[in-house]
């Protein structure tokens, strides 16, 4: 079953190169995403055993991130149909160049395959290969628009992430050096954790944290993120923010898993806490006065990655909070980037100041835009409110009042910054040149579905999700 999960998107990617028509290719994309999601649900229920002598397995952590990825990909695949239609309409009018649709679909599917591998793999060497492969699969996606700006964003993304990931490879080798004679599989490392060389392990942890942290968008290594997120096509931005960043976060969690087993969990938590707070602060500074609404969302991703790191860094209940936050963030950010794509298509600008009266132009997307902002800023009754509260409680419970105060202050600043921009975009009269338009089902329903789920998670936490979240937190030594 795990093999099918990996091979399905790979085969579809190959197929999408061969298929002649755009229509068939879009059906293939959505069909593959739906089948992948079905398989993920089956894996979630059946819990199949490990594969390839334990290199691939679905433990609670992997299962959680696999679920998020597959769900978000399904929504994005459906949204992409609407996006690609719009793009081909523009191309027919000769307005934008853009890359080939076959390449776009193939890269999306390859990205799904590699990210699935990230969630399932239990070997640090393979994990590195998979994470780097996701970088390579997404680089052409960011450059899909074929403009000078997207070229610049792609170059920064490729170079910064490749350098980061190269440092993670050095960290992986350090990890092997700290446990001489053994392999790099997770179970082997966990089994011999007590015998790890502490100095080499700490060096390994730092390099892996910086390396995968670059990919995850933790400040100060986040500089590629706003450019890539704002210049990529909106479905790709949604995937980058909701799935790719989580994949890198999972890689960091795997290292922390070994650190906990080696009784160096405290060392790992302190590092994560520091990076998390820095990310929150950087996000707060750049969210104020931000005039580009896609960049605004990108900095909000930096903020949320910071919250995840803070949650893990606090430990205890905070671990659960961080994992729950990862689910909520993916749902909310998927919703927001898709809606941002709709606004961008209607207004033709990314400048927040030029977007006014959004609900008059786009009745559905306008409302979704407001809902998304409430969800992403942690307003009750959305799920983010609960998870952010759990993390705050963890800070108070461990007696870190300074951390709690800084965390609350920065969240408040970001709330004000985001809400100010959102309100201005929603209120007022729309510019004369922009006509109200009928919205396609493809571009609104996936976003609305994600929004509904983000809302539901704030009202009831389903027992099956709760169980996996608790099991995953237990793997990281939290509760």
């Amino acid at each position: 079953m795990l093999a099918a999960l990996l091979l399905l998107p790979l085969c579809s990617a190959a197929l999408s190169w061969v298929l002649p028509g755009d229509r068939g290719r879009r059906a293939l994309l959505v069909g593959t995403a739906a089948a992948h999601f079905g398989l993920t649900v089956a894996v979630w229920i059946r819990r199949p055993g490990p594969l390839l002598s334990g290199w691939l397995a679905a433990d609670a952590l992997g299962l959680l991130f696999l679920g998020i990825t597959s769900l978000l990909f399904l929504a994005v695949a459906a949204y992409s149909v609407g996006y690609l239609r719009r793009a081909s309409m523009h191309r027919a009018q000769g307005e934008t160049a853009g890359g080939s649709e076959a390449g776009f679909t193939a890269c999306l599917l390859l990205f799904l395959a590699f990210l699935t591998l990230v969630t399932l793999c239990q070997h640090f060497g393979l994990l590195w290969v998979a994470v780097e492969a996701t970088t390579l699969a997404t680089a052409p996606l960011i450059y899909f628009q074929r403009s000078a700006r997207s070229l610049e964003a792609t170059w920064k993304y490729l170079l910064l992430c490749s350098v980061g990931i190269a440092l993670a490879l050095l960290g992986t080798f350090f990890l092997a050096a700290s446990a001489p004679g053994g392999g790099l599989s997770l179970s082997a490392l966990l089994g011999r954790a007590a015998g790890l060389h502490p100095v080499w392990f700490k060096a390994a942890f730092l390099f892996l944290l910086v390396g995968y942290g670059t990919k995850m968008g933790l400040a100060p290594m986040h500089t590629w993120l706003p450019d890539a997120h704002s210049e990529a096509p909106s479905p790709v931005s949604a995937l980058l923010s909701g799935a790719l960043l989580n994949g890198a976060f999972l890689a960091v969690l795997r290292v922390q898993q070994v650190a906990v087993a080696a009784r160096l969990g405290g060392f790992g938590r302190d590092d994560l806490l520091a990076l998390g707070l820095v990310s929150l602060a950087v996000a707060a500074v750049f969210i104020l006065h931000q005039d580009d609404f896609k960049r605004l969302l990108a900095y909000s991703s930096v903020e949320h990655m910071g919250i995840l790191a803070v949650g893990i860094g606090l430990g205890g209940e905070g671990t659960f909070g961080a994992l729950f936050q990862a689910v909520n963030h993916s749902l909310a950010k998927g919703l927001l980037f898709m809606t941002a794509g709709n606004l961008l298509a209607a207004y033709g600008t990314k400048l927040a100041a030029e977007v006014r009266g959004a609900p008059r132009i786009l009745p559905v997307s306008g409302v979704l835009w407001v809902a998304g902002f409430l969800a992403v800023t942690g307003t009750p009754p959305f799920g983010t409110f609960l998870s952010e509260l759990v993390i705050l409680k963890a800070a108070l419970a461990t007696g870190r009042y300074a951390v709690a105060a800084v965390y609350l202050f920065l969240l408040a600043v970001i709330f004000v910054g985001l809400l100010g921009v959102m309100l201005r975009m929603v209120q007022g009269e729309a510019p004369k040149a922009v006509r109200p338009m009928r919205e396609s089902v493809w571009t609104t329903v996936p976003a609305a579905a994600l929004g509904l789920m983000a809302l539901m998670l704030g009202l009831v936490l389903p027992p099956w999700l709760d169980e996996v979240l608790r099991a995953a937190a237990a793997l990281l030594g939290g509760s």
């Binding site: 450059y143 000078a148 920064k156 080798f173 392999g183 060389h197 909106s234 298509a345 600008t349």
Partner: protein, 231 residues
């Protein structure tokens, strides 16, 4: 064997120094090719005795990718992408060399004490690997041209690979193969992007890649937005 191992490591350090001091891109590419050959041989020296067939195959593969394919790709990019042949340094060449030596001396002095918890074929293995990692990072940050940055990325990757060669024998060959493949594809994509940059901007100085920023200056000329219909 120790003599040959030390000689190889010395050669690696020297190529790093030469790269810091060179002003010609085509020469830099050739130096990186030499680095690739040495790196291909390194795992075989480390094995001791007679290496098995997989070790030979992997060494041959690494040598081909790092010593032949990469230099060929970069040379092609240099020719086709209408690139100036100077490296265009941010930090001057002699200053780069002095910084390199300033890093190398403490590495050689203290490096032999940074021993991993297993026997090493040479005490200079770890310092040599770290020096290449440093050189790579330095070239990426202190040179303007996109092509030089790729060169720096390759040197960084070579440094990591040098350290990894110590442990490769313990790792499954599948992982090593995956690493080589990933780096190969990364360089391929970087090559394509460089080609597009040269076509789009008529040059590949990354200093001009500054349109994406957070706070716009008044009156700054702006490129059209990439998504939707443009402004």
């Amino acid at each position: 064997m120790t003599f040959w191992t030390d000689a190889c490591l010395l050669l690696l350090v020297l190529t790093g120094l030469v790269l810091l001091g060179t002003g010609r891109l085509s020469f830099g590419i050739r130096v990186v090719a030499v680095q690739g050959w040495v790196l291909g041989l390194l795992p075989l020296l480390h094995e001791g005795g007679t290496p098995g067939t997989p070790a030979f195959l992997l060494a041959a593969l690494a040598l081909t990718v790092k010593g032949v394919i990469f230099p060929w790709l970069l040379t092609r990019a240099l020719r086709d992408a209408n690139v100036r042949h100077e490296v265009d340094p941010v930090v001057g060449l002699s200053a780069s060399l002095i910084i390199g030596i300033a890093v190398l001396v403490p590495l050689l002095a203290f490096g032999p004490h940074l021993l991993p918890p297993f026997p090493l074929p040479s005490r200079f293995w770890v310092p040599a690997a770290f020096f290449l990692v440093f050189t790579g990072l330095f070239l990426i940050s202190a040179r303007r041209q996109a092509l030089t940055q790729v060169l720096g990325y390759l040197v960084l990757e070579n440094g990591v690979y040098t350290f990894g060669a110590l442990l490769m024998s313990q790792q499954p060959w599948l992982v090593e193969l995956g690493i080589l493949l990933d780096v190969l594809v990364a360089v391929l994509i970087m090559g394509v992007i460089i080609f597009h940059i040269s076509r789009e901007f008529d040059h590949i100085d990354t200093e001009h890649l500054t349109h994406l920023r957070d706070w716009r200056r008044a009156g700054q000329d702006d490129l059209p937005s990439s998504e939707g219909k443009g402004r």
